[in-house]
Every structure is written in structure tokens, then in C-alpha cells.
């Protein structure tokens, strides 16, 4: 088979990253059915720079990849020649526990980093569900992944304090630093957060850390109605509790609001008691076992389309009602989870056809973009993405967003087509 694509050969890539670290792509490397020609794994910032400069010269469309756990996020690529994997860039560059700061290469798996930090009773305060399936730190930043604990610690944009990036012309630049408090220069760490590889490759990241809580408990209340869900969430939000997570779970089999309470044992005890007291008017309150928690986990099997709704947190009842209404009219039984205190709700759909899913997304997008929110398709088969744009409208930000892209990646080789605004 002729592996030459746009006049480049595997050997060209191997000359940059070494013979063992570039290969022809396989169907497993495809993104939404678009298969790249090659996969290359640079081992350093310098190799990443050289590789990108080569790609830019040859006009190759490049997709940076960490653990590949978010390959289904976004629109299908317009074109794709080269997957640039960070799999070899896995070092912890510096961790001084007394500073509560860590500097890492972007390819390190979040799980590995957390295990390492646990040795110093510290953690990076982020818990995206993809941690278990091998998400890398750079991937988490690029996809702006988060999990339930964002209620307390914020998202990765609140934890990142420095970054080294490689732009598509090979320029290596850093911003921020390794101190938590720092306002020198523009905060490019935040700009690259959630940019899905469209501005450049994230090579290194610095984060602030938090102490690992000594104890944890999950208190749950059984909910009878979406009304109760919204009211219970409001009661918790305005109480003087400091939960790490406030989650809503809504499906045929369970309707719960859960509070993850973490800290020192006497604090966890006292806060759990207060939470139980505050919630008992809404339904049966109990402490969940690890087993029950596992069963509530975010990744269900067999879901075809996964959707994220962002809305003001006080609209929880409205979000649930809109979801249940849109689904039941089309005979779909959704599984709903969400960060109830934040205003993020996830919707997993299965058992119906693309037409029904598309109508659900369009209906919800219509409702929630009008109220200042958004509806994003997080996971779906390529055929579905042909019908429904993944991100929704950018409104007044569209032109500025495009100008930013144009400045950072003027040739448009970085992950073309997958991002919002047609970027």
C-alpha cells in the first residue's frame, strides 16, 4: 500500500522522532471515522516543535492526542493526516510538596499523577470520569474535562498555573509559572484550556495542588419529583456546608441528590449530620456504600449519544423537566446525572434512532441557549454528527474566536473542523 500522503513518508517522521516512535495509522486511530495516515510520538518539547514545523511545511492536518479518551468530542475532523501522541512525554518534572505545586509533561496519565501525589497526601483537585480510562493531564486541559469535585475545587482552568505550548509553526512558548499567585503576562494557560488542540500542542503544565482529604462520606436523599431536586439543591447551595460535590442522578431506577463530604473525620461527621437534617424533608436520607456509589457511576454501557447541558444552577428543576419532556415525547428513557450546584447536566441516550436524538438535542438547545446556557454533544456516532453540530452557536464571540484561531494557527492545520465555530 502506498503510505505516501501529501508527499511525505513514514521515514520523514521517523527521522524526527526516532524509528520506533512513528508508525502508519490503523483504523483504531480514526476520529469519527476519519483515519489519519500516521501516528508520531515525540519524546520532548524539541521533537514536538520539529514535528509541527515539518507538518506545517507539508500542510499536514494534525490532531494532538493524549489518552484518546475524548476522541469523540467535537465535530468530525475536516481532514486528518497525523496524530501527534504525547504518550512518551510522561515525566513529573518537579514536585515540591511544601509548595503544593507540580510541573508535569502533558502526556502523563492523570491517574498516575494522582497516585504519585497521594504519596505526599496531595492531589490535583480534578476528577473527570475519563481518569479511569487513561486520560492524560494534557488531554484533560485541552478538553477542559471535569468531574463532580469541581463543585469545591473548580475546573482545570482554576488549577492550572503555568503552561508550555508548541504552536503549529514550531514556536515553543510558556506562560504563567510555578507559583500559585502570579499576574505577569497574559494567562495563556487558560486560553489553551478547552481549546481541543486547535491552538497548538500542550507540552507541559503546572498546577496548584490541594491536600488529600482524610475522610469522605456520601449522603444521599431520595427524590420524589424534579421540583424536590431543585429545592433540595438550593437548600444545600445556600447552607454553610462545604461539600466537595453535589450530584443529581435521575433515571427510572434511581432519583437521588448526593453530597460528597470530605475533610477531617470530625468535620465530615458534623457536616453529614447537618446535611441529613437539611435534606430529610425531601425524602429518605442515607449514607451510600461504595457499592451503591459505583453503581451510580457516570459511564453507562451501550449509550449512543451523550449530551451536556449548561444552565444557571438554580434552574435544575427546569433542566430536568425539559429533558424528561423532550425524551418522553420521543419514547426515549434517558439517564441523567449532573453537577447540581454548578449547572451542568449530562444526558445519556440510547434505544432510539438518530432522528429522535437529533430532535431532542435541537429542542434542548433551543430552550437553553435562549436562557444563557448551552447544549453540547459530547459523544455520538459520526452519522449523527453529520446532522447535529456538536457545540452550538457561539453568538457574539464567533468572530473574536476565529481571530484568535487565525493568529495562533494561521495555516489552520491544528485539529481542523472539530472545534466550535467551525474551527
Amino acid at each position: 500500500m502506498d503510505t505516501r500522503k501529501k508527499n511525505i513518508s513514514l521515514e520523514d517522521l521517523q527521522r524526527i522522532v526516532g524509528e520506533d516512535h512513528a508508525r502508519e495509522a490503523t483504523p483504531e486511530d480514526a476520529i469519527d471515522g476519519v483515519q489519519p495516515s500516521f501516528v508520531a510520538e515525540p519524546g520532548s518539547v524539541e521533537e514536538t516543535s520539529e514535528l509541527l514545523r515539518f507538518a506545517a511545511d507539508e500542510g499536514l492536518a494534525v490532531c494532538p492526542r493524549g489518552g484518546g479518551t475524548k476522541s469523540s468530542l467535537g465535530n468530525p475532523p475536516r481532514e486528518l493526516d497525523l496524530v501527534l501522541s504525547t504518550a512518551r512525554m510522561v515525566d513529573v518534572i518537579e514536585h515540591v510538596p511544601g509548595d503544593q505545586v507540580v510541573r508535569v509533561q502533558a502526556g502523563i496519565k492523570l491517574q498516575d499523577l494522582q497516585e504519585r501525589l497521594a504519596g505526599s497526601d496531595q492531589m490535583l483537585g480534578i476528577d473527570p470520569p475519563e481518569t479511569r480510562s487513561g486520560a492524560t493531564v494534557g488531554g484533560v486541559v485541552a478538553a477542559n474535562s471535569s468531574g463532580p469535585r469541581r463543585h469545591r475545587y473548580g475546573t482545570i482552568r482554576d488549577l492550572i498555573i503555568g503552561i508550555t505550548v508548541v504552536l503549529s509553526d514550531g514556536t515553543v512558548a510558556k506562560a504563567g509559572g510555578k507559583v500559585v499567585k502570579n499576574v505577569a503576562g497574559y494567562d495563556l494557560s487558560k486560553l489553551f484550556t478547552g481549546s481541543l488542540g486547535t491552538l497548538g500542542v500542550i507540552a507541559e503544565c503546572n498546577f496548584r495542588l490541594h491536600p488529600r482529604p482524610e475522610a469522605a462520606r456520601t449522603v444521599a436523599v431520595e427524590l420524589e419529583s424534579t421540583q424536590a431536586a431543585g429545592e433540595a439543591a438550593q437548600v444545600i447551595l445556600h447552607a454553610q456546608l462545604v461539600p466537595s460535590a453535589v450530584e443529581v442522578h435521575w433515571s427510572d431506577s434511581s432519583k437521588l441528590l448526593t453530597l460528597l463530604i470530605e475533610g477531617i473525620p470530625p468535620g465530615v461527621e458534623a457536616q453529614s449530620d447537618t446535611a441529613s437534617y437539611l435534606l430529610r424533608g425531601f425524602g429518605e436520607v442515607r449514607t451510600l456504600t461504595d457499592e451503591e456509589l459505583g453503581a451510580l457511576g457516570p459511564s453507562g454501557a451501550g449509550e449512543e449519544v451523550a449530551i451536556k447541558i449548561s444552565a444557571p444552577p438554580a434552574e435544575l428543576t427546569g433542566v430536568l423537566d425539559s429533558v424528561l419532556g423532550a425524551c418522553s415525547r420521543r419514547g426515549v428513557a434517558p439517564r441523567v446525572t449532573g453537577h447540581a450546584g454548578i449547572g451542568v447536566t449530562f444526558l445519556a441516550l440510547s434505544g432510539a434512532d438518530d432522528e429522535a436524538y437529533a430532535q431532542i438535542v435541537e429542542e434542548l438547545r433551543e430552550i437553553w441557549s435562549r436562557r444563557g446556557g448551552s447544549v453540547v454533544v459530547r459523544e455520538a456516532p459520526p452519522a449523527f454528527k453529520e446532522r447535529v453540530e456538536a457545540w452550538g452557536p457561539l453568538g457574539s464571540r464567533l468572530e473574536l474566536t476565529r481571530r484568535v484561531k487565525e493568529k495562533f494557527d494561521p495555516r489552520g492545520i491544528m485539529n481542523p473542523g472539530r472545534f466550535a465555530g467551525g474551527i
Partner: protein, 484 residues
Amino acid sequence: MERDGLIRAMKSILGPEGVISEREQLRSYECDGLMNYRVIPELVVLPETAEQVQRIVRTCYEEGIPFVARGSGTGLSGGALPVEAGILIVMSRMRKILEVDIPNQRVVVEPGVINMWVSEEVAEDGYYYAPDPASQIVSSIGGNLAENSGGVHCLKYGFTTNHVMGAEVVLPDGSMVNIGGGKAPDAPGYELLGAFVGSEGTLGIATKITLRIVRKPEAVRTLLAAFKDTEEAGGAVSGIIGAGIVPAAIEMMDALCIEAVETAVHPGFPQVGAILIVELDGPAAEVENQFEQTLGICEENDASEIRVAEDDAERALFWKGRKAAFAAMGRISNDYYVQDSVVPRTELGKVLKKISDLGEEYGMRVANVFHAGDGNLHPLVLYDNNVPGEAEKAEKLAGDIVFTCLEHGGSLTGEHGIGEDKKKYMPKMFTTDDLNVMQLLRCAFDPHQICNPGKIFPTPRLCGERPGPFRMHPVQKAGLAENL
């Protein structure tokens, strides 16, 4: 456009009372809180609505006139220093709190609203606005946003950037965009809001800002501990952090600073080598437990005296002493130079020693007051402007202190910003490529470079240019510096 035409154009947008053009009146706007740089602007304009801001900026864009936005003018790095032949847009007439939304924990304000007003507005509902720069009784939210202001409590609660959830922004071409989700989280697209906050007024002017408010904690405990010297106090700080405690604040003052504060506001602090003020807040059971632990750690580090604030009045007294520190320097020195830099917390001891050595070398006194929890130093270099050459010497010493911080892995500024004051130091912290890439963002927002031009970057880059191919910085190549 000649001056008279510009005045007419501005008056047609703002009415005669919204335009200041008399030289004597313009003089009151010639500097911000950093008084050693002064420029008299061509005109000062005082818009009252976002639409007026938009029309002013559009006129500037069409005529190629540079402009600078100014809030309350308390900034300490010259970020609101006017530019010659430019317009100063003073935002202080846009000071309405537009919406209080307790269910969503949001407040929507105009940029001229004073920081403290936000907390006052929501206090009865049990809420407050967390970022608390020392200037909070006068500084504006718009200015806080531009500078990404910190404060004594940002160790636990984060900076302005962690509390601004959305902004309506007039871009330098006069167009208006909404960035950040506001009440809903995770707006799709680039994190433009995160890049905009802290951009020191160089990317546009925020005309409406959505803030996150925080529930008041159930319990607050504050202690003041006296130590022989800053090293012992530093040992206590390490002990507290090492125990996994995240205090709401840990502040340190050295002997010279304690002396000045005592003369100025008489808080009755022990006259010792160093004091720490430590505040814990949160759920009562957790705070009580960790407060006991903190007391123990201070004792283990040989605190000679520990005072626990028994009530809000006593707590306020502790903070009054701390927050008066800058102003109090006037009691023991004719003039002083405020520095703002950051070191990794574990380097504090070494850096304080070097600062003291530098002071001796220069024959100048340096008082230290700082946010010990996050390594943010505020050395105050004392001098006498009546002695020829002293001011220059003080600035040079302050510069050497910053370089010392950089050598120890720190930053040029933790909360005061780069502005006019520190742009010359930027190449010490960043490579040419770093600065060029930052300016790509500038070019996307402000291609004509008319929005607060000449700040932050020592060598502004024209937006038509592209950065060259990658070359390793010579310093880096020689192994003298590494990529952070």
C-alpha cells in the same frame, strides 16, 4: 482628527459634562496609584453607559486614537497611566449594581462599582464577594478584573479570575462581545474570559461583569502569633501547610513593619522580630479542630506569644494593623517604594535572608509584609526623596529584590501587575518567543494596538508580523535558564 474636532465628537456622545479638556483638570488624571510615572492625557471622558463606551471606542478605532481605561486609579503598576495624545476613559460613572441573583449566587455589576459594595449588597443574604485587595474600599470591579486582583484571602478562595463568571466587553474595534457563561457554566469556544481577566486593560473594556458570590463561612477563627524572627515564623507557616490545613489567610510582618504599624494605628501588636496572622474559616467542627492544631504548630515553632481573637472586634483590630502596613511606612520614612513579587513558599526563608543582605549592601531599610501562604512578598524599600540619588537607589534595590525572586523560581508580580512599571523586567522572566506568543492574543483582540498601548510588553510587536521559526533562547541553550 484635530483636538477641537475630537472634543466635539466626544461631547456629542457624552454631553459637555462627560468630557474633560482643561489642562488643569486633566492633570488630576496624570497617574494612578503608581506616582512616579505621569502623563497628561489629551482628553478625559466619563461614559455612563456601555453604548457610550462603544461609541467612544469606535471613534478611537476609526481615527487611530489610543485610549486607556481607568477605574478608581488605585493600581500600583501604572496600568491606568494615560498615553500621550490619547483618551483616558474613566469608568467611575458606571457604578450600578444591576442584578443580585442569590439562587444562582451571582451579582451583575457595572465596572465602576466599588469592590466593597458587592459584599455589602449581599451581606444580609449571608454572602460576600471573596477577592479582597487591600484597596477594596475604593478600587473598582472593572479595575480588579483588569489586574486580576488578589487579596489576603485568595490563598484559599482564589483570585479575581476565579470569581468573574462573565463579562460584556467592548473590543478595541468598538464591537461588543459577551465572554464567559455568566450564570451558566462552560460556555463553548475558547476560554476568552480567562485570558481577558488580568490582561491589564490591553484587550478591551468590560462594561458589565457577572461575579460569583460566596456563602459566608459558619465559623471564623483568627490568631496572632509572635516569633523571634521571620525564619521561626516561616517554620510555623510550613508546619501549618504541611499539616494539610488550608487557612483562609496567613500574613507575616517583620520587625520594621510592626514598628511602623504600631506608630500609625496602635493595634498593640507585640514588638518582636515577626508576627503571623492566621485565619481559618469554614464549617465549625473542621475549623475548631484545625485551629487547635494550628495553635499547637505555632507553639512548637517557639511562638513567644499567641493571641486569639475573641470576637469580630478583635479580629478587625488584627486586620486593621495588617492592612495599614503600606500607609504606615510614612510614619517611619519620608518615602517608600512598594514592591510585589512572588517566590515558591519553600524558598521564602532563603529569599528573605537575601533581601536583608541586599538592604545592608545598599545601606537601606527594607520592611517586609507579605502573604506568607502563597509566597507573595511586598518588600517596602524606605528612602528619602530629599536626599539626591536615593529614589534611584531604592528603585534599583527593589529591582534586585525582584531578580532574587525570579532566581528562586518566582514571578515578577503576584497581584499588582506589570503595567508600565515592570515591563522592562519581562525579558528576565519570559523569552522573546513567550512574549511574542502572548502578543498573538493581543493582535487578535486589538490589531491596531490602540487599547492601553505600551503596557506589559517591553517591545510591542506589530500585528502583521509572524514570529519566526523556532529557535531556542540563547539563555536556555546555554543551560542558564530552563522552561518553566
